[in-house]
Point group: D2
Chain length 342, copies 4
């Protein structure tokens, strides 16, 4: 059994780690921390976990954390940054769901997050937690920076096209629609039901924090610098990201076969049949990314449709997939939720 | 392994049987029937099942069904009625999710459903599929009539009070709120998103078809004829029933202890702590009924709050729980979904 | 033209006052105050008002307010209490949408709101702003305490029955379902879309702050003390209250005629035809309360269904109706919104 | 007063015509037709209209229709086509909300709608009902083909850029998100709340019927043939279209000033301030199109955000705006709804 701690388990990604790990045959969650809720049973905050998880929140304590095999950080940015060096030096493996270690360029990180990066050397060492791209490096990593939600949906959609060199990398567009759980469990006006139900809007048009992360990965996939316009939208639903990706073909190709072959061995990427249009609800609660590739309307524009559950393949599920790779376990452990429909 | 057939698997309760049975260690679903969709892979209709269920709908065939150990009917009323006698005579066990065999009074059934009941003798033999009431009879039944969704939420809420003889049985009120999945997967105007989102309404105020079923069971629980006013409401959500039950105390009692003791051994009834207010989302996808009992506002009115997922504890999950009892299996097999929240 | 000020216009009831008054032929809104947003054009906060209202929030100033004919308070409780005495002494008329002056028993008020009541003499003088009950007193009032949202829906539903002495006043039940806008425009976790969509729950079961207000009015209507159990529920929609009212008939009566005659002259109460089931969406944005009375299921239980838009007939619309009465204007001025459906 | 008939008034655009015309000072709706509901008061089908509209559906009758000044067709395609020639010959003016007369190329129409076009000469004569483009021609038209919902949002967004010749017309992308009311009031599975709530999906990726209409207008605006990729998405809300438009700048320009000047005199187009992100809820029920133009992320990609209420500026409101132009009335008559928020 793997001894596990979760730092910051009161948020949605923390709760989702608990839900998924409760059915993981090798996971032994020993510690869940929260400064604000120390002493509270998690099932009081998340009654869905009643009867499944009987842990109590505790104050974070480095010594206790260091006794675990792996520590997940499900925290706002800058929290992991403060604790990771100490834990790493004690030999603990760390899986960070926050943005702290995703960007190699920590100056850019500081610009986007309006605060200095306090341990650039760990950012350099961290492995970007997107198994479809970095499986081997994840296996041996001590620190994994799990890919963000928008980045996962967008990067998996563009990957086969970029790797094959089929598209104009200077004209990439990602029009993404997200449910409001992406904003996390925090008191706010903009994501009240009264403000976000029966409504659709774009936001962060001038530049979303996920933009440099996406560009970094697409550059790596393409082998050169790409130009990307990324427009996120807030959608009146709880979970799900639907990314609609546009690019221009440089030469003709059998795109369906390309995608199917590219992801043939991936357990959590489902290339749908030609003509399909994936729906976010079909991946709700699951670690699956469903993709469909189209060349519609007789044009040289390729349209890729990519859907994930932002809290699972976009966060906690992907983190567990990384853990399974790091510990040599079957990747599907803890990740067998069949989405409920309707 | 139990050989299983599902008749009418294109509807929501059929799909939910498939979702739950896909993780059941002793279930081998061999046949799913649909006249309308024969030849279609179920994963084309329910893409959430891609990678989990690879069955294809077939025309119903009595000989093939008779080779199974158990046949589930997830059909509109009157369908099971036509096939059950033949299957029973061939020795197959039947679990009917429809209303065909729930009422012992088949004349009343004919009145409520506006069509004659064609096999009253089977209605007499059928065991009412509410494990918390009829576990022993279910174990040996050949034909189980699974309790309806509203009835399950309401009956489990009133049961401890009625059995203890604590309330005035002539003044029972059940104000129930249901998501729209209770209306099933059928083309209709009233349950379009445009008609049922951002809206709350009562319906069937003069008498809902579940009323005689609820009364029959409450009468049995009370040992005498009860008077019940049951008002269902359509709520703008997909899944969930919230029943708010009102009755008048005849004498004072420790209601919290009563409920906790009554359901102490029930794996799928969660009596919440004093003061709790259960939420439908905490049981989404799960076979759990959560209950809270209140005596608010210094009055002799008892208020019971009861929530279920109408498609699980109110239908397919309960059907599988019955199957597990019938075949001597642990009751939780196939029923371990941890609800995802949010 | 009536010179109008709105104190606390950043909240939903303030914005709704502005929406409705923008089409009122005798309303001249001169001042909208907000400490937090002073200097901001209201249309920046509420872009729906772009092109219709070009006012700018200002700091509250008693002298400026005193130059108006009427001041609306659309504020949290305790705010009006501090300013009303000064304004009253300067001869201004006040319409308070908050709870500050609704209860005659200011000791009870202090208990429910956990703070002392600072001007009981004004609470005594205030007229309760429910036109169907108090039209004449409203006409000459200097201070009107507009009825709350739940109270309006519930009181209008019980009124004909209580006035006619037809029901057992010791067994009243109000099961009410509200959209989340009743919680106002404030940062909170419980009313995030992620927390309140796809969910139904009861809340404040032990006692909601509207309970003493409702009891006070029902007592007045009945001419004696009533017993009421009031259970509010949070419903996944933005606007609307659906109150389902249960009581026991003491003698038989033609309830449909009773209701129709009782409200025959009321411009904003719509008694629906026998058998109807009103929907909240049919009053969205309008000052209408739709009622239907049922005696279902052959029983002596009377069920009244009552729907309002909590922000209009339950707050801002009713406040404007009161203003029209106070200033001798046609009651429908500013209140002619036809609900949009769907 | 203008004598008005509405053919096919049971659908959402018919009901919306009635809602808006009920506050139009020169509109006298005399006839509403429906074969299916003849004899039924419209307020029984649309209780929101109780007290505002007391018309009864009648069978369509050409002689009666011909006695009106103008006939609106709020019907599925092919219905107007059958009746318009007769009415035109009797001198009646016709405003068609359906697709029958929008395409000049009636062979293309026949391909997209899978049925022959029966009166191409009227398609040639019809004026395309987009006032911002065709105001003068509308004024004298006898037959107006009101612009569709997606086309309105997309065309108004691209218009200033195309007219100014600023963008590469061979690389236009329109990613559009629509509420489900665009599918109309008809029994269907795909737009049930159970199927479309908590979900986001693209549809008609290979080609939506609005595509040729949009291309026809964009070609006219650009003065040459454009290439457009149009991907519509179904969004879990009732009303609203959010179009996110992407194109590539050929030369730099002050886009904000361009848009403001282009629409300076348009009463129903609101160019929002630089940096704004319009929300669909801010135009709910109103005839307004709100636009924002961005050149984000330091790139030569222009992003235009365009929101409308699909049933108002995308259908019935625009039809009334056309009528006002045809009859020399102020354009705002009947179109002064202030959106309610939240």
């Amino acid at each position: 059994m793997i001894k596990i701690a979760i730092v910051g388990a009161t948020g949605y990604t923390g709760a989702e780690l608990l839900r998924l790990l409760s059915s993981h045959p090798e996971a032994d969650v020993q510690i869940i921390t929260s400064r604000a809720e120390a002493g509270l049973p998690v099932a009081d905050l998340y009654p869905n976990l009643r009867g499944h998880v009987d842990l109590v929140f505790t104050e974070p304590d480095e010594t206790a954390l260091a006794a675990c095999d792996v520590v997940f950080f499900a925290t706002p940015h800058t929290v992991a940054m403060q604790s990771v060096p100490g834990l790493m030096q004690r030999g603990v493996r760390v899986i960070d769901l926050s943005a702290d270690f995703r960007l190699k360029d920590t100056d850019a990180w500081a610009d986007w997050y309006h605060t200095p990066h306090t341990c650039p050397e760990y950012a350099a060492e961290a492995v970007y937690g997107l198994p479809e791209l970095n499986r081997e490096a994840i296996a041996t990593a001590q620190l994994v920076a799990v890919a963000g939600c928008y980045p996962t949906a967008i990067q998996l959609g563009f990957y086969p096209l970029l790797k094959a060199g089929l598209i104009d990398t200077k004209q990439l567009i990602a029009d993404a629609k997200s449910g409001t759980s992406g904003a996390g469990r925090k008191a706010a006006i903009g994501t009240l039901l009264t403000e976000s139900a029966e409504n659709m809007k774009a936001y962060a048009v001038s530049g979303h924090r996920h933009l440099p992360e996406i560009r970094q990965t697409l550059n790596q996939m393409a082998g050169s610098d790409v130009s990307l316009t990324f427009i996120p939208h807030l959608t009146p639903m709880i979970r799900g990201i639907h990314a609609t990706l546009y690019s221009r073909l440089l030469k003709s190709a059998d795109l369906q076969t390309l995608f199917e072959q590219h992801y043939a061995d991936e357990p959590f990427v489902d290339v749908m049949p030609a003509g399909a249009m994936p729906e976010t609800r079909t991946v709700r609660g699951a670690n699956t990314c469903r993709l469909a590739v189209h060349q519609p309307q007789g044009d040289d524009t390729v349209v890729v449709l990519s859907v994930i559950d932002n809290l699972v393949k976009g966060a906690s599920g992907q983190a567990i997939q990384c853990m399974n790779i790091m510990f040599g376990l079957p990747e599907f452990y803890g990740l067998q939720t069949v989405p409920a429909l309707p």
